[in-house]
Amino acid sequence: MILDIVSWVAVGLALVTSTAMLVSRDWRISLGALAAQYVSAFWLVTRHLPFVMGSAKLITGWMVVAALGMTRLGLSATEDDSAESFWPRGQWFRVFLIGVVALVAAGSTARIEAAIPGLGPPVIAGSLFLIGAGAVHLGMTSDVLRVILGLLTMLTGFEILYAAVESSILVTGLLSVVNLGLALTGSYLLLAGSSPSEEDEQ
């Protein structure tokens, strides 16, 4: 019973962090929310995976946040939030989208639980919500950091669900490598364009 309550709290935390990431324009808040999101994912993953493997995912997640944060910290403030060409782009529109995702996730949870028994409603709801939030994120922006955040959010949601059906150490390891790879790729793309070309140097 208590475990279920904590699991639902983790789902709530995922909802809050995803909303914060989507609504906030400050990269510090977004990365902080991502770090907190990995805590909720850790709890949901350990419903089906051993504590050690869940911890590995949590540590990987925090390494991802650290890599992105260090890179972003080194960039100038003027590069903050390049103008988005998407419309509408108001904060309330983003909150509305997250609400739609939450409703869809809540509506689908029971059906998936019936189709794949044993996963547990919090795990399914948390996973679906993160996948949806990641998809919304990807649909709203073309900014490199935001795209990487969207991909990581979506991947976290998938990992929660996949952990329930596949407990292989190799898969856990490879998924961690993919997460870290995304962070490093994101860091590279953030830095790209900030160094002069060989011709410029000459």
Binding site: M154, L161, Y162, E166, S168, L170, L184, Y188
Partner: protein
């Protein structure tokens, strides 16, 4: 000795060492030599078979355990490895001539080794993770450090990352379908997920919009390598799915869906190519059309699926290598691949321009060139199934031919009486010359690749029966 160590760990380690310890100029030769050596080993020494050389017995064992899972390369993989590393060697040797891309050889070796791991890993659906890792390694090659990332590379990253969850989850669902084949709902869900996964990976219509963007904004040689290497391994991966699951192999709906998707890719790729004014984008659309042909080949309801698919894959590597190398040389001279900047370039770069046109014509299926025999074989099989599909494929190829004619017209459009001169270096002339000779040899004597692809059907024991 162990096959996965030789063809996965060694090239990865070689790439790593080249990245940190070798100068760019030497990397082309060393990386190309490593790939060529691996290709020769695959060709000469059979895997899992004892070989007696004098008094020394030599045997390459086939598998290795890694974190509780197996990486395995069988005897039948030998030909495939020889083709893959042989073509990779061609790309690496060409790096020096293209003068492009920092770290192309080192990262290229790592990418090829990861992709080789994707065909060796058991359970085979974990390959999706390795494909994603390879896709991420391509990114530093596509965007030099001094260039802002464009929309193409962002979309490429998104689509490749989206593919992985779909394929992994569909693999799990497919096991459920095998357990209860009568459950239509699970079958439809698994099929849809699998289809979406491969649509993202291969860039099936309309998810290929990143390809022309990338060919416009990134170095042509790197983009060409990407357009060869990722679809080639994705096709092998998808053949593995078809081979493994009986219901996929025998499903008329899946075959029809693949035929439709392939046809749309060929037609749209060809038609859009004929409307472009940028030679790089034309190469991108030609690659889309070629991938469409591969999808069509995999959708054949025929015993020749594997033969036709590999017959298409081998010339594709050569065509793209020649085309991309020639475009790299041209781009260094003209700084742009827009038609307006390339007028009359045939007089200053005759070899590069000839190579572009011949590679392009080969992709349209022009007789005597490498693309002709596989297209003929595919058309023959398609015509048995649907004349309408054959016609649409013909239309797509006609679009590519129009694009080739327009490109040729631009290259020979001289403003004044400009003298003919040869501005390519000897290494560029040699590499392009060898590539073009290869295109003609594969076109006129297609049986030369038969020894390489003859054993490949045994990789997929159920397909083609």
């Amino acid at each position: 000795m162990n096959a996965p160590i030789i063809w996965i760990a060694v090239p990865f380690a070689a790439g790593f060492l080249i990245l940190f310890f070798l100068r760019e100029r030497a990397s082309s030769f060393i990386g190309g030599s490593v790939a060529m050596l691996l290709s020769l080993i695959a060709l000469v020494i059979p895997i899992d078979t004892a070989l007696l050389i004098g008094s020394v017995s030599l045997k390459i064992s086939s598998s290795i355990q890694f974190f509780g899972r197996s990486f395995s390369l069988s005897t039948a993989d030998g030909s495939l490895l020889a083709i893959i590393y042989g073509l990779a060697a061609l790309w690496f040797f060409g790096t020096e001539a293209s003068g492009s891309a920092n770290h192309f050889v080192s990262l290229g070796l790592m990418i090829v080794s990861l992709l080789t791991a994707s065909i060796a890993v058991e359970p085979f659906l974990f390959a999706a993770l390795l494909l994603e890792m390879a896709a991420m390694l391509v990114i530093p090659l596509l965007i030099p450090t001094y260039q802002k990332p464009g929309r193409g590379v962002i979309r490429f990253l998104i689509y490749q990352t989206l593919a992985m969850p779909f394929i992994l989850f569909s693999g799990w669902m497919l096991a459920g379908v095998e357990a209860s084949p009568g459950d239509i709902n699970i079958t439809i869900q698994a099929g849809t997920m699998l289809g979406l996964g491969f649509a993202f990976l291969l860039g099936v219509f309309p998810l290929y919009n990143w390809i022309p963007m990338l060919t416009e904004e990134s170095p042509p040689y790197v983009t060409g390598f990407l357009l060869w290497v990722l679809p080639a391994f994705t096709v092998i991966f998808s053949l593995g799915f078809l081979d493994r699951y009986t219901w996929l192999r025998t499903s008329p709906q899946l075959s029809a869906a693949m035929t439709l998707a392939g046809m749309l890719m060929v037609v749209t790729g060809g038609v859009f190519a004929s409307l472009q004014k940028h030679v790089g984008r034309i190469m991108g659309y030609a690659a889309v059309a070629e991938t469409g042909l591969l999808v069509l080949a995999m959708g054949l309801r025929s015993a020749e699926i594997v033969n036709v698919t590999f017959l298409l894959l081998v010339p594709r590597g050569l065509e793209l290598a020649v085309w991309a190398l020639a475009l790299s040389i041209i781009k260094r001279k003209a700084n742009s691949l827009q038609f307006s900047d390339l007028q009359g370039l045939v007089r200053s770069h005759p070899v590069a321009v000839s190579a572009v046109i011949l590679a392009h014509l080969s992709m349209t299926g022009f007789p005597l060139l490498a693309g002709f025999p596989p297209r003929l074989a595919l058309w023959q099989e398609l015509a048995h199934q649907s004349l309408a599909t054959s016609f649409w494929v013909f239309l797509g190829m006609a679009g590519l031919l129009i694009a080739a004619t327009r490109t040729l017209a631009v290259f020979v459009m001289a403003g004044g009486e400009k003298a003919w001169e040869l501005n390519e270096t000897w290494i560029q002339v040699t590499m392009l010359g060898l590539g073009v000779i290869g295109l003609f040899i594969l076109g006129m004597f297609p049986q030369v690749i038969q020894p390489f692809i003859a054993d490949l059907p045994s990789l997929f024991i159920h397909l083609g029966r």
